[in-house]
Every structure is written in structure tokens, then in C-alpha cells.
Amino acid sequence: MVNDNDEGAYLRVRDLTKKFGEFTALRNVSLDVREGEFVCFLGPSGCGKTTLLRAIAGLDIQTSGTVEQAGRDISALPPQNRDFGIVFQSYALFPNLTVKRNVAYGLENRRMPRAEVAARVAELLDLVGLTAHGDKYPAQLSGGQQQRVALARALATSPGLLLLDEPLSALDAKVRVHLRHEIKELQDKIGVTTVMVTHDQEEALAMADRIVVMNHGVIEQIGTPEEIYAEPATPFVADFIGTTNFVDGEVRPGGRVAVAGVVIDFGSAVDGLAPGDKVTVCIRPEDVRVSDGGSGPGIAVTVTDVEFLGSFHRCHVEPVNGAGFGRGVDFMIDLSAGRARDLDIREGMSVTAALPPEFVRIYRPMGGV
């Protein structure tokens, strides 16, 4: 998963394990972050993403494994001997200090001349667009503004690494989308290497250069948002990012797979599997091709329900032949508004659903998704 000879890595994590008593929160986690990169740790709550961030920060040092930053082994160092700025979900702004004093907090301790501190604070407030609010107290600001103060404070000392622990999750949906762009822009502008923890896949897809998907204390996949979405390495990733249909299948001779009573040729997707293997076939709802009834290639299905979701329609379908898709799960097909109009899709209609091999991923049966 990780190229051990990645010379360009700014942050290098190797075999990180963190135990809390009997519980293992992280198990042999390794990853690299390149200089100037924006990396998201993404996963459900309890997957270990925050534990990993806190180990990198030195706030809760790992049980075993190493962390290197800019070629320096910082594995055992306390936070004050590392080089990072951090923004917490709660922001942890000092309530009794003004916005300016909050931002200046780390600078004042460095024997910087007062004029220089003031200049740097002004520069940062300008950067986050809060120049007018410098003399207010945090409680007098909105959530989004508080978040930007926290960001300015973390960046004030020009750290080599910026750590963001669920920085947006305390905000309203609208503000969140807006700030998401702002943070990303800011990061592009100053080029600081950034690691962000989030449980929101949309946030990760929109902001990250690379995403680290985690589950149960291990890394499931590392990749660009496109890779993660289009080629999920595991069923967990397929399920966690976006929406995916899971269908039970069985491998037949000749690279073909029996799905819902129909045998389909999936070509190279079946490589490495032997006839008789039980498999799980995954395809995203928007990748299913639908044509009017009849006997084209694909599975004849009946539409049992249509949900109108704004820009697209989500159809729930069942095979006509009654074989079922297995697993007791709905099979969903997303149709753009235009396509739905063309087909005049309605409940009770019969259509043919084709599963294009290039969009299908086949996994060996899995434990629990």
C-alpha cells in the first residue's frame, strides 16, 4: 500500500499501533504525506482516524511504530517539540482573549517585537477575512468566524504541518460547504502540508488531494478522490463512499458470473477467481444502464419504487424472474432527470438493467458490510 522508497514524503508514518488497554485503536498503520499535500483521514466514528491524528501531533503518543516529519524522527517527542498547528472540532478558542490576542498567542511567546506580532496578526486576519472583528471576543462571533480564528491561530507561527480535527462538523450545512472551499483555497495559497480528519465523505472528496479511508483501526485504501470513488479497493470503501449496490453472484466457467438468475460476462473483472466461487458484485446506482423492456443484454427488472431526489431519480427494482439480488438489500438505479423523462419511468414498469463490465467490481465474499 505504501511505497517504502518514497523520497518525497514530508510526513512518514510506519507501522503505527495504538492500544488503549486491551483495545487496539490502530493496527500497523503506515502512510506517507508529500509536502504541500492535502490529505483526509476518512472513516466512520471509532475507526481510529482521530487517534492517528493525535499520534502525529504527539498529543496521545502511539504504543509502537514511528512518525517522521521532514526527515526527523519525532515518534516520542511531546507536542511542544514538534512542528504543527492544530484546529479542533471545538476550536478551543481562549474565551477571555480577543480575536487578535488569540491569533497572537503563539507569537507573543517567541520574543517577537510587538510591532511584528501586530503585523503578522493583521496579515492572518486579512487572510481569513476577519480584519473587522479583531477586537471582538470569540463568543461574539458566529461558528464559521470562530472556526477561521482557530485556523488563523494555528497558522500564525507558520508551522510545517497543519492538522484539522473535524474542523467543520460543528457548523451548519451551508456554512460548511462555504468554508470547505475557503480552507482548500487557503491551503493552496500558502501551500502548507495539511492532514484533516473527517467522517463526511463529501467533505473528503471535495477537499483532499488524497484520501486515507480507515475502518476498525486499519487503512482500507489510500488514493485520490477519483480512485477511491471509481475503484474502491474493498467492499467497505465501496459502501462507505457514495452508494453502491451489492449483489450476490457465483463464478461460472469462462469469466462469467451468475447474478440474479442471469449469467453475465464481466471480462477481466473476474480474473483470479475460479468457477464456483461465491462473490459479491458491486456497481454504483448511476452506472447501471437502463433501456426500455424487451430482451436486450442485462437483467429484466420491475420498478418497485421511484424516489424524486432533485437532479435525479432513484429507482428501486426487483428482478422479474423472482430470483432476487440476494442479501435482502434493495437494488437501486439512479437516472438523471432527463433520462427518467425519456423513459417515462414509473412504479410497476419493467425495464432492462445492464451492468457494464467497466463499472463493475467483484469481491470475494466479505464479512460484514
Binding site: R14, G65, T66, N96, T157
Partner: protein
């Protein structure tokens, strides 16, 4: 792969920074203070109870003597009897009083809240003296006792009820405040009657509070010394026995034995209370909606009458003491004069005692607050060092379980030992300060912990990432933000240092006599009116400090805590 495996196996030992060492050193320092000021003295008194007057180990001989002397072991029964009676009376009264304050639309609520807290301002000796004026041989309303004597169980119960009422009420108020209006709405919607709602919603909601109040009341009464000392008469209880054995008969070993026996119920009540409080936590969810009482003229007026009656009693007791301190020669010449305030002419009292009390209270407030808050901060916010922090937490809870008399006597044994280098402290002001800080450590500590828990847990993480040393953040952020709690702690310590008798009664010297001790001695010498006068001085001082505290808190909230308002 083998290299990777080797790396994986290497356990990382976090480097402990210089800051962490400072934190640990201070934490260990405070833990050592508590060890010297409570653990070692307790050990000294325990071992004393197994020795004879010559310091030779005699096993359980002293205990055998205690249990074979009826005059001694009957005190156990006496103590338990009056204590349990007090608990039942006070818990019931405080329950209704708290119910009236929180769950009804009774008028004058804040007045009644204030009146109920009056007893906190006085040493328990003072209400007892007041009872003597009311029901004693020359008492104003002596007849109300139908020929019974105030000296004895009746007097003790009456005095203790007065003395512990505000403490029990405070717990009740907290328990009642934690109510969820949604439960009442649900009960209403389901058509339950008021009575049924009371038994199915109100009572279960406050049951932990009631139990906790019961235990606190139990501990306060059984360990109190002031009331039985003044109105106990021939009715011996454990607390006065300790005093009599040590001061009257100079039998230190028997004093130690009685102390150990008094320690048992106190420790038991303390442990039970902690267990109950731990359960209370989970009771109220964050989404609870505060209960808003609705008008109900019959109930509101009934409650007004009840609270009025209680309030009248509380005020009368104080007023009686006040009047007695100004009356020229009770009960023959009732013209007002200040002659009883001329303490320097009295046996066992002097103005210097009052000044010593102020000095003790000031030192206790300053040193105690600094130590308690720093200790609580380190327990709550330092990193790693789990064993040290756990030990400290335990040490902080010990003082609450130890009755003042036991603590004071333990100090005699520990600090007066010729081979203890700390014995230079004996009979000085510092030992009074140490004893008083330690005596009231636990409540102050819990107040500080509560305030600290409300701070964002990541302040320390942020300042570490900004490379600001923890002590700068402590003084620039933690202390200013917690200032209201810090003022609460210092006021609590000041007022208690003014009013305490039990712990310091064994420790003062002629040079360091205290106002509360002067009350005791003047009362013993028959100068009851001057004793009441000294009591009034304490009440006035404590009330003044409370008012100052209220003003200061308001001022600070307005000025330095501008951030609290939007």
C-alpha cells in the same frame, strides 16, 4: 519485512518534556503536603490508640477499656440517637423547603433562600448559646419545653437541626433543580393526578439527592462538637467525649480510641455518599428541559406559610443571640450596651483572638485557594503520570471523611512528637492554617474540579502546539476564566476558617487563640453574653465577606469576563 517487524515491535516510550516534569513535581509537592497534613497524622492517632500512656504497644487494651466503661460506650448510642433524629427532621424540612423554592410559584423565594443560608455564617456554638437564652433556666420561652430541660438531647437536636439546615438544603436544591419538564408533561398527558406525579416522577428524580443529603447530615451532626459542648449537659456524645478525655482528663490514649470510633461512621457515610453521587450523574440527559413551576394558589400559600415558619425560627435564633450580646445584664437589665464586646476584660476571650481569626481566615483563603486550584488543575489537565494523578485524587477526598476533632487530635500526636522535625510548628499560626486548609480541602477541590471540567479540554493541546508553556496558559487563560469559582473557593475557606472550632480546639496557644475558641472558653467560664457577642462578631465578619464576594464576583463578571456576554 524483518525490518518492518522489528520496527512494529519497538514500543515507543514517550519523551517527558521539561514542562511535564514541572507539572509532576508540583503535583507530587501537593500530594506530599496532603500526606503530611492528613495521612501521617491519621496514622499517628491510629497507632496512639494501641499504646498506653508510656508509648508501649498494648494492642486492643484501650478499646477493651472503652467498651467496658458504660459511661464511654453509651456515648455511641447517644450519638447515633440524636444524629438519626436530626437526619429525619432536617431532611424532611429541607425537602419541603427546597420543593417550595424550586417547584412552586411561592413569592419571596430569594429572601427565603438567603434566610436559610444564615446558619452557615456562624460557629455551631452560637445557635446553642442562643438556645440557652431561649429555653435555658432563665429562657424567654422556657415554658415551651413543658418542663423538659434544654440541656441534653432536646437541646442537641434543636441546635444541630439549625446548624445543618443550610448544608442539607443546598444538596436538596441541586437535586430538585435537576428536573426534566418533559417527564411532568408526559405524566400530565397520561392523566396522572398531582399526587401520583409526585410519587412517580418527583420522588424518584430526587431520591439520590435525598440519600446524599441524609449522609451529609449524618456526618455533620455526629462529628459536630459546638452544639453538644454548650447544651449537651450530662448527655455524653462521642464528639464531646474526645474533648473531655483530652482536655479534661489528659487521657490522650482514650481520646484516640474515641476518635477512631467516631471516624468509623464518618468514613462509612462519606463512602456511601460518594457511591450515591456517582449514580446521580447519569440521571439527567443533556436534552432535558428545565421544569417551570405553574401557579397554584393553595400550594403556593401553604408553602409560604411553611417557609415563613422555618425562616422565622432561623432568624429568631440569630436575633436572640444578637440581642443577648447587647443586653446589659440578662434577664434583669435589658438596656442595650456594648459592654460584652469588651473582650479584653473577659476570662478566655480577647480582641486579639478575633484578630487571630481574621489572620487565620485570610491565610487559609489565600494559601488554600492557590494550593487547591493548582492541585485540581494538575489532576485534571496534566498528561500521563496516571498513578500519581490517581493517588492525588484519592488524597484530595480523604479530608472530607475525617471529623475536625479527629484531625485536630491527630495533629497533636503527629506534630507534637519530639522526634518530628515539624514540631517547631506546634502552637503556631502556620499549624492552624495547615490544619484548616486540610480540613476543608475536599469541598474546595471538588468546586475547582467542576469549574475546570467546564473548560475546553483542548486548551492545553493548543498551547502545546503553539509552544506556549503550560504555566503561561494557566495564568493567562485557566485562572481568569475560572475566576468566579476561585472566588467561591476562597470565600468558602475564609468563612469556614472563621467559624471552625473542632479541629483547632486542640492546636491553639495563648498567642494564637481564635474567636471561635474564645466563644467556647467564655461560655465555659460562664461569660455567656460575651460569648454571644464574639459569635456576633464572627457572623458580622462572615456576612461582610459574603457580601464582598458577591460584589467582587459581579464586578469581575462585568469587567474581565466581558466575553461571557454577547
Amino acid at each position: 519485512m524483518s525490518e518492518a517487524a522489528a520496527r512494529a515491535a519497538a514500543v515507543i516510550k514517550p519523551k517527558v518534556g521539561s514542562e511535564d516534569w514541572i507539572m509532576r513535581a508540583v503535583l507530587v509537592g501537593i500530594a506530599l503536603y496532603l500526606t503530611v497534613s492528613i495521612v501521617l497524622p491519621l496514622y499517628a492517632i491510629l497507632s496512639k490508640s494501641f499504646k498506653n500512656a508510656d508509648g508501649v504497644f498494648v494492642g486492643l487494651a484501650n478499646y477493651a477499656k472503652f467498651f467496658s466503661t458504660p459511661a464511654l460506650f453509651w456515648s455511641i448510642e447517644n450519638s447515633l440517637t440524636v444524629t438519626l433524629i436530626c437526619c429525619v427532621i432536617v431532611v424532611t424540612l429541607a425537602f419541603i423547603y427546597a420543593y417550595a423554592l424550586t417547584r412552586t410559584c411561592m413569592p419571596l423565594k430569594s429572601l427565603f433562600k438567603g434566610v436559610a443560608l444564615l446558619p452557615i455564617l456562624m460557629p455551631s456554638l452560637l445557635p446553642a448559646i442562643s438556645l440557652v437564652y431561649l429555653f435555658g433556666n432563665q429562657g424567654v420561652i422556657k415554658d415551651w419545653l413543658f418542663g423538659h430541660e434544654i440541656y441534653g438531647p432536646i437541646g442537641i437536636v434543636m441546635g444541630e437541626c439549625f446548624y445543618v439546615f443550610p448544608h442539607v438544603l443546598t444538596i436538596m436544591l441541586i437535586a430538585m433543580a435537576n428536573s426534566d419538564a418533559r417527564l411532568y408533561e408526559a405524566s400530565d398527558a397520561l392523566g396522572a393526578s398531582k399526587i401520583k406525579t409526585f410519587f412517580t416522577v418527583t420522588l424518584p428524580g430526587v431520591r439520590y439527592g435525598v440519600v446524599s443529603a441524609f449522609f451529609v447530615c449524618f456526618t455533620l451532626v455526629i462529628t459536630d462538637f459546638g452544639v453538644p459542648k454548650v447544651v449537651g449537659g450530662k448527655y455524653n456524645v462521642l464528639a464531646t467525649d474526645i474533648y473531655k478525655q483530652v482536655v479534661g482528663r489528659q487521657d490522650f490514649e482514650m481520646g484516640a480510641v474515641v476518635s477512631m470510633i467516631l471516624l468509623l461512621p464518618a468514613v462509612f457515610a462519606f463512602a456511601a455518599d460518594r457511591i450515591v453521587q456517582r449514580r446521580q450523574v447519569a440521571l439527567l440527559s443533556a436534552r432535558a428541559v428545565p421544569f417551570q413551576p405553574r401557579k397554584n394558589p393553595a400550594v403556593d400559600m401553604g408553602m409560604l406559610a411553611f417557609c415563613g415558619a422555618i425562616g422565622l425560627v432561623l432568624v429568631s435564633v440569630l436575633a436572640m443571640a444578637c440581642f443577648a450580646s447587647f443586653a446589659k445584664f440578662w434577664p434583669y437589665d435589658l438596656t442595650l450596651s456594648l459592654k460584652h464586646y469588651n473582650f479584653d476584660l473577659m476570662d478566655g476571650g480577647s480582641w486579639s483572638a478575633y484578630h487571630n481569626s481574621i489572620e487565620l481566615a485570610a491565610w487559609t483563603a489565600v494559601i488554600g485557594t492557590a494550593m487547591v486550584f493548582t492541585g485540581a488543575y494538575l489532576v485534571e489537565k496534566s498528561k500521563g503520570f496516571h498513578s500519581g494523578r490517581a493517588a492525588m485524587q484519592l488524597l484530595c477526598m480523604v479530608p472530607m471523611a475525617v471529623p475536625g476533632l479527629v484531625l485536630g487530635l491527630a495533629y497533636v500526636f503527629f506534630f507534637n512528637a519530639p522526634n518530628n522535625p515539624l514540631n517547631v510548628l506546634y502552637h503556631t499560626m502556620p499549624i492552624l492554617v495547615i490544619c484548616t486548609v486540610t480540613h476543608f480541602y475536599t469541598v474546595a477541590h471538588l468546586t475547582a474540579v467542576t469549574a475546570l471540567k467546564q473548560l475546553d479540554a483542548e486548551f492545553e493541546s493548543v498551547s502545546r502546539s503553539l509552544k506556549v508553556p503550560f504555566y503561561k496558559t494557566f495564568f493567562r487563560i485557566t485562572v481568569p476564566v475560572c475566576m468566579p469559582a476561585i472566588l467561591d473557593i476562597s470565600m468558602y475557606l475564609f468563612v469556614n476558617a472563621m467559624t471552625t472550632v473542632s479541629a483547632v480546639v486542640f492546636l491553639y496557644s495563648p498567642d494564637t487563640a481564635l474567636a471561635s475558641i474564645a466563644i467556647l472558653n467564655m461560655d465555659d467560664a460562664g461569660d455567656v453574653a460575651p460569648a454571644a457577642a464574639m459569635g456576633m462578631m464572627i457572623v458580622a465578619t462572615a456576612a461582610g465577606v459574603r457580601l464582598m464576594h458577591a460584589g467582587l464576583t459581579r464586578g469581575i463578571l462585568a469587567r474581565t469576563q466581558a466575553w461571557r456576554t454577547r
